[in-house]
């Protein structure tokens, strides 16, 4: 006989229609502030999502323009930086490296001072 269902209808909270509707009403009332807050939050997220595509396109264009500008402006600076880096790496004083780059000839006293400088 254990395969027969036990009748729990006396414990069924939905059996008494009015009581059940009251319970549903109580839950709705208590959850109303949380639901309103959620609706407002979802609204903000929805608006941002709506702006997402144009914002993404604008950001992509700005990125391309910035990259191109940086490439054009920073190229000479990188070149001189790399030259100074090589001179420093092989132990040539900075002043001498500048004379080499500018094709200027230093005087004997300037050369002495430059060579005596600590590296």
């Amino acid at each position: 006989m254990t395969d027969e269902r036990i009748d729990f209808s006396a414990l069924d909270p939905t059996a008494e229609g009015d009581r059940f509707e009251e319970a549903v009403g109580r839950i709705r009332a208590a959850a109303a502030p949380a639901l309103a807050a959620r609706r407002a939050r979802v609204g903000v997220v929805g608006q941002v999502a709506g702006w997402w595509r144009p914002l993404l396109a604008a950001a992509a264009i700005a990125g391309i323009v910035s990259a191109a500008t940086l490439a054009l402006v920073e190229e000479p600076a990188l070149e001189s930086e790399s030259e100074a880096g090589v001179a420093e790496a092989i132990g040539v004083p900075e002043q001498i490296a500048q004379w080499v780059r500018s094709d200027e000839l230093p005087g004997p006293s300037e050369l002495l001072v430059a060579l005596e400088e600590p590296r």
């Binding site: 036990i6 009748d7 414990l11 319970a23 549903v24 208590a30 959620r38």
Partner: protein
């Protein structure tokens, strides 16, 4: 809410063993679930997530009640009916069922209530309780046997004929 109310109530009743408390905790759990709705990433997992909230809140409530009343479950569940007339019969049955349910383990209560009150299949019960379908069947059989022994055939027969 209406779709899951009885399952949530069945879980609360399984933990608490008292219909009134179970209804209070069920309603409170629904409110809590709405407040935490953003945590549900997969809608198909909503039912399991909701029932876990009910289970946790019922256990918290149960601990709180034990501290407050220091009365055993049976004393609470076997309380006299308050409604007059035909409602009194229903209240009698409710009290008898609650007392009989108190004899079972929490797991047996949850299995038998989800199956016989809410109409869940063993697959759903097994998934919700993280047990095998075979174990769900065994718990159901044991629970029904204990309930019939406790309630007696006469009471169940009269009840079924209503």
């Amino acid at each position: 809410m209406r779709r899951h109310y009885r399952a949530a109530y069945a879980v609360a009743l399984a933990v608490l063993g008292n219909a009134m408390d179970a209804e209070d905790v069920t309603q409170d759990s629904f409110v809590r679930a709405v407040e935490r709705l953003d945590e549900v990433r997969e809608p198909e997992r909503f039912k399991g997530w909701l029932l876990q909230i009910v289970r946790n809140r019922s256990r918290n409530y149960s601990g709180y009640r034990r501290l407050r009343t220091a009365r055993p479950l049976e004393t609470v569940t076997a309380a006299a009916p308050e409604n007059p007339g035909s409602d009194a019969e229903r209240a009698d049955l409710r009290g008898a069922l609650e007392s009989a349910l108190a004899e079972l383990s929490e797991l047996q209560r949850e299995v038998v209530l989800l199956h016989d009150l809410e109409g869940w299949k063993h697959r759903e019960i097994a998934e919700s309780l993280a047990i095998s379908e075979g174990m769900s069947r065994q718990h159901l059989m044991a629970a029904r046997r204990a309930l019939r022994r406790r309630l007696g055939g006469t009471l169940l027969k009269e009840y079924s004929n209503d």
